[in-house]
């Protein structure tokens, strides 16, 4: 035990015979009183304080003394505060009830044990005291942001690394929608056009981006390519010319024919 409890032991013990004695620590400057009374978390907290202050054995509480002290505090609180938690009054009633039951012979429980009228109150006080200490213990544990500071260094965020997946079916459905809707515009008709022709248009245009001038014949490999492919390629060149995406040039009759983009 520490110094505080040593001093307590020198003070006269306040068991039953000192009923009605005002606890000395109630002599508090008036403006501090409110703050002080407010610091109790409830009737159990106040009772615990009185018990510890008077060095009372929690397993053998002098009910008359404790009740009297408790009532003095409650009266003070009532005097200062208009609103006193109903729980404090409830506790007064409970204390008085226990006190009066103490005067009667102790009843026996089902198992034949003697039932102390204080048992329930003691159980509550012990449990609350335990939780009070637990709260203090929790506060001692290093907490994030207070005593624990965690790594939080920076990294450059990469934008859009994940893209949605799309299936061929979804693409085809989108195309069907486009066609369906295109029908609603009279001024524009989607005509049938072989995909392979469109693809070759892209291939030819791409090769004309790389080189300004490409010889017409280089697009055809008559020995290797099947005839449909040759036809498609030829159609693509015609289509590109028609859409004015490329020009076909020949300097003089029988000289090589060159393809070039419309601009160059």
């Amino acid at each position: 035990m520490n110094e505080q409890s040593d001093t307590d032991q020198l003070l006269p013990k306040v068991y039953g015979e000192h009923i009605g004695l005002l606890p000395q620590d109630l002599y508090i400057p008036p403006d501090a009183l409110e703050v002080y009374l407010d610091s109790f978390e409830g009737p159990l907290d106040l009772l615990l304080y009185l018990i510890r202050k008077n060095n009372i054995d929690i397993l053998d509480i002098p009910m008359a003394n404790l009740t009297a002290q408790y009532m003095v505090y409650v009266e003070k609180m009532k005097a200062i505060k208009l609103e006193l938690a109903a729980d404090y009054l409830l506790m007064s009633a409970m204390l008085i009830e226990i006190k009066s039951r103490m005067l009667l012979p102790t009843p026996e429980s089902d198992e034949g044990e003697e039932l102390d009228p204080r048992a329930e109150l003691v159980r509550k006080l012990v449990e609350y005291e335990l939780m009070k200490s637990a709260a203090q213990e929790l506060e001692q544990i290093p907490q994030l942001g207070k005593d624990r500071i965690v790594a939080n260094a920076y990294f450059e965020k990469v934008i859009e690394t994940k893209y949605p997946d799309v299936s061929v079916d979804e693409l085809f459905n989108a195309w069907k929608n486009v066609i369906k809707r295109a029908k609603q515009f009279d001024n524009h008709k989607i005509s049938r056009s072989e995909l392979s022709v469109r693809e070759h248009m892209t291939i030819i245009l791409k090769s004309l981006v790389e080189k300004d001038l490409v010889e017409f014949s280089s697009f055809f490999n008559a020995e290797k390519d099947p005839i449909p492919k040759l036809v498609v390629c030829f159609l693509a060149i015609l289509e590109l010319t028609k859409e004015r995406l490329i020009k076909i040039n020949q300097q003089e009759p029988c000289s090589p024919i060159y393809l070039q983009r419309e601009s160059s």
Partner: protein, 203 residues
Amino acid sequence: MLPYIFAKRKFVIESTVKIKELLEVALLTSHRPLSIDDFQKLFIEKIERSTIRMLLDEIKSDWQDKTMNLIQVSSGYRFEALSSFSEALMRLNPDRVIKYSRMVMEVLAIVAYRQPVTRGDIEKIRGVSLNPNALRQLLEREWVEIIGQKEVPGRPSLYATTKYFLDDFGLLSITELPDINQFTNENSLDELKPDNIDSTQES
């Protein structure tokens, strides 16, 4: 052309050194603890959990006697500044500390040690009706959550502590909380008193 696409679209693991480095970077840049599942997400290839655990152990010893500790909490691993630095670091962002009232801490203790509990349970233990603010603050902080309803009339909510509570207190599980049975014997008188009485008397 293909190797280019590959390099651009995939993170290529060269060696375990690279894996370990990536684990370290992830830990140093994450504001939350990282689980083994999280670490696995870092890689396109499947990295075994045992490999990750082994490398985490290595990182832990690499950082021994340095400025940060690799520690394990409920939802995973994190780097924490050595506690000896905390006080100085707090001077950088002094306003960030939230101090909870005694009431809130008592409610937290009851939820932590007696979970799952209803509001009524808390009121019974504290012997006083509960200011709804206390639970609201703990719910907001995500230290406490509602895990269901008690099947009694009124079906009151059941409160329990969260993973974040354990994380924030640096605990792996609720069993690591200070042993409650030790408290009863060791409590000194002064701790149980309201703090302000002594000072008012003495002055």
